[in-house]
Structure formats: C-alpha cells, structure tokens
C-alpha cells in the first residue's frame, strides 16, 4: 500500500505544480498591469520594466478617474465610463433575464399558432454571433437615432436565445402536477409565473446574472460602433480610445489604472455571487 501512497503524493505534487503554473500564467499579466498602474509613465517605458509597485498609485488612479491624464489619446474620465458600463451591463442583464424568462414561459406553457416555428427560430439564432447581424443592427439603431444612448447600447443585446433556451429546459423539468396544483389553488398564469416559476428559477437566474453581467460589461465591438461621444463610452471602449496609434506618447500608467478599475466590478460580481453561480450551474432545485 505504501506504493499507492507514494504515487498519490507524486500525483498531488504534479497537480499542484500544474495549478501553480496556471495561476501564475493567469495572474502575472494582471500583476504587471497593477504594477504599471503605480508608476509614472516614464518609469514604465524604461527597460527593464519595474516589477514592484511604485508610489504613484494614488496619483494615477485619481487622474484616471477624473480624466486628467495627459496622453495623446482620449482623456475621458474613467468614473463616467464605469458608470456607463455599469448601467449598460445591468440593463442588458436584467433585460435579458426578464425577456428570456417570459419568452420561455410562453414557449413552455402556452399553445399558440406557430409555436414550434418560434422555438426553432430562437434556437437557430443561438448559432449566430452578434457580429453576423452587426451591420443591419447598426443601420436600425442609427435610423432610430439611438446612437450614443443607453438604449442604443443595450436594446440590441438584450434578446438572448441562450437564456431563453436555458429557462425553457428548466421549465420543462417542473412537474406537471405542480402546474395543476397551482391551477386548483386558483393561480392564474401570471400568478403561477411570479409566485412559483420565478422563485424556482432563482438559482438559474443567479447563474445567468453573473454570465450576462460579464457579457454586458465586456462588450467591445458593438459599443465601439454605437458610440462616438466620449461621455457614452463604456470603459472597455474607453481603454482602447485612450491608446493613441502610432508613436504618440501613451500614458500607460493611466491606461493600466483604467484597466484595473475596469476589472473590479465584474470581479466583485463573480466573488459575491459565486455560491449562487455554482449552485445554479450544478443543481436543479425542484
């Protein structure tokens, strides 16, 4: 049996080495970004780049937040950009969840003409990435005068085949008898939806909240097209706009401070919702 134990120990060691390596690979760039955000612009561009945090943390972050950087690119205040990102991500998340819940509810519990067709058209759009329809969507949003508005940033991203499909699959597992018990209790369709289906879906909702918040937060291509004015840049676009092309001097310290700030809200969402998120993915609470 000692052979077993030895083999186990070496396997454990190997596993730990792999994990530590993986963590380093993921964490080192993040660390470097943080280090870069604590030095002056001149210090960073020196070779070798400093590997320990500097003393410019406060100066850089306040410059980023209020928009006083002196770079060649955009100097829009990051505070505003984070606000835009937050509103956008939250509207997309809540919009997606409520629209998907309702459409899944309709698909599962109501018989209406062309129900099968509706389901399949939703299902087929699962396979189409946003980029495929980005030009027609841009045309529609532009014609509706929604460029540079929250509506323009969010509405085209709210419809979600994935979430609808996920809720549909969940609703299909709710036992028929529960629907009937509610009918006998006198609960109408909306009552049943609000009192029973939504509470039962809460773990799925939580999991979707995390996924969709990050999805909304990390939107890049669409906001790049749909916004032209600095005060409507989400932070992800803002970072890009801060970096001027060519040889112009970029304030990398401010850019990195912005990047670190941009990471905080999604990280907070993941950390705070982690328990629910995992639960929503692994168990079907019925």
């Amino acid at each position: 049996m000692s052979g077993m134990v030895e083999r186990r120990a070496s396997l454990d060691l190997l596993a730990h080495v792999v994990m530590v390596l993986a963590v380093l690979i993921v964490a080192f760039p993040l660390y470097l970004a943080f280090v870069a955000s604590t030095h002056t612009a001149q210090d960073i561009v020196q070779a070798p780049m400093p590997l320990w945090p500097g003393d410019q943390l406060w100066a850089n972050y306040s410059a980023a937040l209020s928009g006083h950087g002196g770079g060649a690119g955009s100097n829009a205040p990051v505070g505003r950009m984070i606000w835009v990102s937050l509103v956008t991500a939250l509207v997309i998340t809540f919009g997606k969840i409520s629209v998907s819940l309702l459409s899944a509810f309709a698909l599962v519990y109501f018989r209406f003409p062309l129900r099968g067709l509706v389901f399949w058209s939703i299902f087929v759009t699962l396979m189409l990435p946003v980029e495929v329809r980005i030009l027609p969507t841009y045309k529609v949003v532009a014609d509706l005068n929604l460029l540079n508005s929250y509506a323009g940033l969010t509405v085209p991203l709210i419809a979600s085949a994935t979430a609808t499909f996920l809720f549909r699959q969940f609703f299909l597992t709710v036992p028929e008898e529960m629907v009937e018990a509610a009918r006998i209790d006198g609960a109408g369709p909306m009552r049943f939806f609000i009192d029973i289906l939504v509470p039962l879906s809460r773990t799925s909702i939580a999991a979707l909240f995390v996924i969709q918040f990050i999805y909304g937060w990390n939107q890049y291509l669409w906001p790049l097209l749909a916004t032209t004015s600095e005060d409507m840049y989400p932070v992800v676009v803002g970072i890009k706009r801060m970096i001027a092309g060519g040889d112009s001097g970029n304030e990398w310290n401010i850019v990195m401070a912005t990047a670190v700030l941009a990471m905080l809200p999604p990280a907070a969402v993941v950390v705070l919702m982690q328990r629910w998120f995992v639960k929503g993915l692994v168990d079907t609470e019925k």
């Binding site: 036992p175 008898e177 529960m178 009937e180 018990a181 509610a182 009918r183 006998i184 209790d185 006198g186 609960a187 009552r191 009192d195 029973i196 509470p199 039962l200 809460r202 609470e285 019925k286």
Partner: protein, 357 residues
C-alpha cells in the same frame, strides 16, 4: 359537501379518424359524504376520470356535476374541490405553512382566517412543528400529510385523491390508510380516491368503482364487489390470489373443461347449459375426501397463517387457500376438492359478464 354525478362521461383524445377514446361512457352517482375508490389496472382510465372531475382534463361528452351544478366548463379552482397528487406537488420554495395557505391567499381569504384554518389542519395532521420547514426537509409521509393539509384548508365540497399512497413504503402506506379513514370520518367530505392497489380499495372504500379499459366494470360496496363480481375481470382483479376461473361447457350438474377427460361434477346445476366460465375463490375450495374435483398439487406456498396450494384443476392452474395448521399437501399428491354451491360464480364465456345462479 356535495354529491357528485357522472352521466355518460366520455373522453377522447384527438379528433376525427385518429381520435383515441379512453373513457367509454361512465355513469355514477356519488352520494354526499361518500368515500368512493376508483380501482383498476394502469391505463384503465381511472386517473383520467378523476382529472375530469377535477377539471384538469376536458370532458369530451357527457356531464359531470358537483353538488347539483354542472361543472363541465368550470375552472378547477371554481369547482370547490381539492386534489392530492401522487407526487404531492408541493411548492418546493414555500414553507409548509405557505403551501397550505397559498390557495386561500389567492382566494383573498382574510389573514386571520387563513391562519386559523392552517393551524387547525396542522393540528389534525400533526404538522404543527413543521409549519416553518420547506418540503425538502420533510419525509415522504410528512409531505403526504402536507398535501392533505393543503386540501383540507380549502374546506372543499370534495376531495380527489390521485394515488396518494403510491410513493410511501408499505408500513407507512398502511398507517396513512388508517389516517385517511379517520380523517374522512371526522370531516365527512365526499371523496374520490384513485388507486391501482386492491387492498387500498377494499379497506378505504364505502363503495368502489372497478374500471377496465375505460369502462366501469362494477360499482358497489367492497363486499358486493368481492362477493358478487360483475365480470371475470372484476373476479380476477379483486382478491389475492385471484378467483380461480375455469372455462368449460356446462350441462346440468356436469361441467366439461377442455383440458380434462372427465367432466367436473357440480354440487348443483349450472344456471344454464353451454359455454360458461366457472369461478371459485381460493378460500372456498375445500380439501374433502368425498370431493369430486381432482387437483394435482404442483406447488405449495407458506404464507404464515395459511398455505396456498397450486395445482391443475379442469385444465387450468388453480389455487386453494388452506389453514396453515392443516398438514401441508405434498407436491405431486392428488387432492380431492369440493366447493359449497353458494360460492360458485358463473360468467358468460363470451362477454365475461356474471350469470345469475
């Protein structure tokens, strides 16, 4: 409380040529406060029938009334009934209290009254200590009681039970059976109880409906159904082991079975000549040296208080039930049996219907 009446109730799924009729005209009058058990093999339409009374299935044709009011087109919640489901169908995210109170809340019953009714039901069902728990924290038997509590608080005209004991283990089932009986005595609410279990049917029913393939084979008290089964189906479905059924040709007091050389000699004349099925329950067959019916023993089963003896009689495998204190017959032994004339049942060979002796 109310009577329930079913008049020529028919259920068809689909339309036109593909229509699949599953209930073929059921008629029954259920008196106020009666406990009726609907029993039958799976797929016989018993649950469908119950669900039509509940309003969960549409009635294709015929009429269902509860308390004298035709309810064919009345929503389930407006029929003044309560239903207990096989899997209990409790709301998993609500406490026991809320599960019971939900229907009343929707019906806008005042809070104080809801509380009073829930507490009363909880007292009857001994659920007081569980009111704040969720169904997940309860055992199967407790969940079952919550489901009954949900029915009781509605104070309905009728209780509908859809195999509510099937998910319980044998011991709990027997105990819950007694509790349901007691509950019915206390509340006196008209009850329809669907089961495939004949023991449940026999023990709970004031009257039982035996169903087969969408038809009502017989309605009557457990004694009537057991003592005078209306058809060979009822005879073989109710009773364990089932009634021995011997097909043959009757001629006076002789009964010729196809598998046997010599006809059986009957203790009395058959009700008519021709093709009939003779039925006799295992406990009515007696070992009797003077008996005219020879049985070759093929197997003996010891059940504790009694023995089941299986063997060939009249070309079919028959069973007789004897007291365990009597000596056990040996396999291969030839027994002579007799049966008292009053315990012979006759059925038409074609239709399977009972022929009056």
């Amino acid at each position: 409380m109310a009577s329930i009446s079913l008049v020529n109730v028919i259920k068809r799924y689909g339309r036109g040529a593909q229509a699949n009729q599953v209930i073929h005209g059921v008629n029954a009058e259920i008196a106020d406060g009666e406990f009726i058990v609907i029993v039958g093999p799976s797929g016989c339409g018993k649950s469908t029938l119950l669900r039509m009374v509940a309003g969960l299935e549409e009635v294709t044709a015929g009429q269902i009334s509860i308390g004298g009011r035709v309810v064919n087109d009345v929503e389930p919640s407006d029929r003044d009934i309560a239903m207990v489901f096989q899997n209990y169908a409790l709301y998993p995210h609500m406490s026991v209290y809320d599960n019971m109170a939900y229907g009343l809340k929707i019906a806008r019953v005042p809070k104080a009254e809801i509380d009073e009714r829930v507490q009363k039901a909880a007292r009857i069902l001994e659920l007081q200590t569980f009111l704040q728990r969720t169904p997940r924290q309860l055992s199967g038997g407790q969940r079952q009681r919550v489901a009954m509590g949900r029915a009781i608080v509605r104070q309905p005209q009728a209780f509908l039970f859809d195999e509510p004991l099937s998910n319980l283990d044998a011991k709990l089932r027997a105990q819950t059976r007694l509790e349901i009986q007691k509950l019915h005595r206390e509340l006196g609410v008209t009850s329809l109880f669907v089961t495939h279990d004949q023991v449940e049917a026999m023990t709970l029913a004031q009257r039982m409906i035996v169903m087969n393939a969408g038809r009502m084979e017989q309605i009557g008290t457990p004694e009537q159904v057991y003592g005078q089964p209306a058809s060979t189906f009822v005879a073989s479905f109710i009773g364990s082991p089932p009634m021995n059924l011997l097909p043959g040709q009757a001629d006076g007091s002789r009964f010729a079975c196809p598998g046997d050389s010599a006809p059986l000699v009957l203790p009395c004349a058959a009700p008519r000549a021709g093709a009939l099925t003779l039925g006799v329950r295992p406990e009515h067959l007696e070992i009797n040296p003077e008996g005219h019916w020879p049985l070759a023993v093929e197997a003996v089963e010891m059940l504790g208080a009694e023995r089941l003896v299986h063997g060939q009689l009249g070309g079919v495998l028959c069973t007789l039930r004897i007291d365990a204190t009597l000596p056990a017959p040996a396999v291969g032994q030839r027994l002579h049996l007799s049966a008292p004339p009053e315990h012979l049942h006759w059925f038409d060979a074609g239709s399977g219907l009972r022929v009056a002796a």
